[in-house]
Amino acid sequence: MSILVANGLTQWFGPEVALEAVDLAIDAGEHMAVLGENGAGKTTLLRILATAARPTSGRLQIMGLDALKERRRLRHRIGYVSHAPGLYPALSAVENLEFFCTLQGVNRARARESLDLVGLGSVANRPAGLLSRGMQQRLAIARAILHDPRLLVLDEPDASLGSDAAELLGAMMHGRTVVLATHDQALANRLCQRTLTLRHGRSVGTATRLHVVK
């Protein structure tokens, strides 16, 4: 059964079309990679799927709800990792997560659990601004899973993660429906069952993992 259904998603930025009539259906528990060159529309598509942006036109249904009208209700169930970690540099890693626990309405104990899951337990009290770029990315991933979302939307989460990116992301993605944008086709092939390729904002086709391997 499809957990996410998009029809004709289109996004204009002034005279430029960033996304043009993209259709998509993702089943519960499925992992889909979104591939494409820079400027292909990956981030625009993911921001719409994460309910961070509204499309100019098109329809989007997530978990049976109209994602353009029920955004706040859906945000309990969606975890989003964007390009920028978006952390508070003066707060420690655990303080960053505890703050978002309050905003998500989950127990603050989840902060330490999430830090341990992404391997940051040992730097929990270090200010986020003093963490390396890779650690900040891990912290952003930990924030995205604080509320145990059913749908994860990950925009190039492998950037600056290091050699164990696939293992970490695989563990985070397990049991969840995932949309993952990446430039790394090998990573997409390893973590996802299906790929969607975008070019100039248009879908140029989807492929299952077997086809990509071929």
Binding site: P85, G86, E95, L103
Partner: protein
Amino acid sequence: MTNSFAVAFAVARKDLRAEWRTRELVPALAQFVILALVIANFGFQIDSRNAPAIAPGILWLALVFAGLVAFGRAFAAEREQASLEALLMTPASPIAIFAGKALAATLLLVGCEAVLLPALAIFFGTPLSIQVVAAVFVATIGMASLGCLFAAMVARVRARELLLPLLTLPLWIPFIVAGGQAVQVAMGASGSYDQAMALLVDFDILFVVLTSLAARFVLDD
């Protein structure tokens, strides 16, 4: 479900904790208001007769410009850290987030006023009474709600430093008029202090309610 009071309190505490650790805003604002008083002290021929007439004007000028900086930073810092999106991607009520930001900005400006008011008394020899403090504090509440709303509106546009004063200053005029009158009366001028304070409280209620309602549309893009 998220508790709106817990969210507002968490947002305010987060902003105050970040300010306490970085000390970016309050020391700079305190220096600014002291410099403003020094310049005014040299710019005007101040003596014991004209000080009660001039000091309230200087007080509100310094407060208005310090407020513009304080409220502008409330959302500019979120934008610079790219954390505004993460904040708004939570199911927390935009009104609660706005209330938390406004509360923190208000308390930071109150910290600045704690420097400004004694300095005004020292430089101008005006009385530092509870009436003066109350008038400034009550005006700060309404000014903060308006300042934070417009700061949130302009946080994502390019010319925000220019737009924020253009949008905010006209709507701060009622606070400056009523607050100025209250402070003048508290410093010895004739008039009704209670009437000016009642007007300030009315403006507070009006603008706090209006900005809370508008915050939902400003923050929920």
